[in-house]
């Protein structure tokens, strides 16, 4: 749910940027969900349904899931990265043109 709402369709040559419609609302929603779940967890702890040795289970679970989510977004971004082959060709032509121009003017552009 979170991941699909982030991506917007890319134009034909710009790399995909991540846009959210209103970022503040999204952050507030996420924070409220977090507060609700931690309130539930603390309630369960106080009522001794869960033994006190398991206090740190929820925060660690959230941190691990956050790390997994970050890794997932990085992997998906890598997989969907566009290579723009036409722009690469145009760039090579520009480089060749610039090299010729500079060689005419007498500047040494050794290819390294």
């Amino acid at each position: 749910m979170l991941f699909t709402s982030f991506y917007s369709p890319a134009s034909h040559w710009t790399p995909e940027l991540v846009f959210i419609a209103n970022p503040v609302k999204h952050v507030l929603k996420l924070l409220s969900l977090l507060v609700v779940i931690s309130a539930l967890w603390i309630g369960l702890l106080q009522a001794s349904i869960i033994p006190q040795s398991h206090t740190w289970l929820l925060p660690i679970y959230f941190i691990v899931s956050l790390g997994c989510y970050g890794l997932f977004m990085v992997g998906v971004g890598l997989m969907r990265f566009p290579t723009c082959p036409q722009e690469a060709l145009l760039l090579q032509q520009d480089i060749a043109e610039a090299k010729d121009f500079l060689k005419q003017k007498g500047v040494d552009v050794g290819s390294n």
Partner: protein, 80 residues
Amino acid sequence: MELADRAVGFLLTFTSLSIFTYYTFWVIILPFVDSDNFIHNYFLPQEYAILIPVCAGVVLLSLLCIFIGLVLLKSKKKKA
């Protein structure tokens, strides 16, 4: 070259998804399963569910601090 990028990206997503499902299963589902079920053989005892992420986090933080310290030392040596 984009094939290598795609392969690395796929590896990352696969790793992250597998870690997430394993950890979720371990922490949330397993406490409700009977103690003598066969599935418990595939999962480490429950104390490690807290120990392993904490150790990994500590190692990560210390590596970060070491890296920052090395960079600071190198910049100070270059200035002196």
